[in-house]
């Protein structure tokens, strides 16, 4: 019960902080799940994150997975609903007036302020994840190579993820 409440509070908060999508709050999610509540190790969290990336659907499915690991099926439902509900209610309330103020100057100013904040948060998330996944030099090279390939080519992310898993399974990284 305590865990369900904690999941609801954490993901309810992250829901309202997730400007620009789920990646902005991955750093904070890791801090809460690993450092604050000690539900799992950092490496375990990153494995779940990788799993959520490899599956279809919105990338906030990491919430369902963390909830499931912490408190089974009810944990998955509570975490997912908490991640969706606050932002969803806000969206539905705002959408009624949104289109009237679409071109209002204040809207552009708010957007101009929030966009770089989100960019900083996603950078932070990538730094935190890299810190955890970089076990040795080979992993660092794999991460760098994956980033470069995904940045420079149109190769599907799933192929890059599968290649990483294959290299790991073949024992080429340790």
């Amino acid at each position: 019960m305590d865990n369900l409440l904690a999941l609801a509070i954490i993901y309810g908060q992250l829901s309202l902080l997730a400007f620009g999508g789920g990646n902005a709050v991955i750093g904070e999610m890791q801090r809460q799940v690993v450092d604050v509540h000690g539900w799992m190790s950092a490496r375990e969290f990153v494995a779940l994150y990788a799993l959520a990336q490899a599956a279809p659907g919105p990338n906030m499915l990491i919430a369902s997975l963390v909830g499931w690991r912490v408190a089974g099926f009810s944990g998955a439902m509570v975490a997912t609903a908490s991640m969706i509900a606050p932002a969803g209610v806000l969206l539905l309330s705002v959408s009624a007036v949104w289109f009237r103020f679409k071109d209002a100057p204040w809207r552009r100013i708010i957007q101009a302020g929030i966009t770089p904040l989100t960019a900083g948060l996603v950078m932070a998330a990538s730094a935190i994840l890299c810190q955890v996944t970089t076990v040795n030099l080979r992993y660092a090279i794999l991460t760098a190579a994956a980033a470069l390939v995904l940045w420079r080519t149109k190769l599907h992310p799933l192929i890059v993820l599968a290649a990483g898993a294959a290299l790991g399974a073949a024992g080429l990284l340790d």
Binding site: A47, P58, A87, K102, P105
Partner: protein
């Protein structure tokens, strides 16, 4: 064909089916699929309407495609429509992710699986690095925006401060900075 899309009504099963397909197909980024389904295949929204809705979802917090399912469902079939679109979108991905989680839990102590996951995770880090670079790249032109991004980065990645309170401070300051720059021009 009527252009008054506001008065249009979409049956619940269509909303569910449309978003269900998006949920299944949306590997690594759902936006292209959402646009394809909503604008090109089912013609629920015009390209302009789609962009306006996307702008709203990007403006507010929360996962974009989920916001889109709620707003679109509500617009075409009220509260029931929002729920039909949301459950359609989430049903398959949630079932798949939990199934993967169960499989992972079964084999997580197997050395080969552990190493495969370490490799998968390192590649996933690369994916986030790329996402971050793509988001940051357009900011290069503005010193102010780079500064705001840098402060957010240091607060979260270096000092590891709680994001909630940090955002309560940083958001108004970032908006104030954006407003002052606009006034100076």
């Amino acid at each position: 064909m009527s252009t008054q899309t506001d008065t249009q009504h979409i049956p619940l099963k269509d909303l569910f089916a449309g978003f269900f397909m998006m949920g299944i197909c949306g590997f690594g980024g759902m936006l292209p699929w959402a646009r394809r389904t909503i604008v090109e295949q089912r013609k629920w929204l015009s390209p302009t309407e789609f962009n306006d809705l996307l702008a709203l979802c990007q403006f507010l917090p929360g996962p974009n495609v989920i916001g889109m399912s709620l707003a679109l469902g509500a617009r075409f079939n009220g509260a029931a429509g929002a729920m039909a679109a949301l459950t359609g979108l989430m049903a398959a991905p949630m079932a798949i992710i939990i199934a993967l989680g169960v499989i992972y839990a079964q084999f997580e102590n197997d050395p080969v699986v552990r190493h495969a996951f370490a490799g998968l995770a390192a590649a996933a880090s690369g994916l986030v690095v790329t996402t971050a670079l793509k988001i940051v790249a357009p900011l290069r032109v503005s010193v102010l925006e780079m500064a705001i991004a840098a402060v957010a980065f240091v607060v979260v990645a270096v000092f590891r401060l709680p994001l909630g309170p940090a955002m309560l401070v940083m958001t108004p300051l970032a908006i104030l900075a954006a407003w002052m720059r606009r006034r100076m021009r």
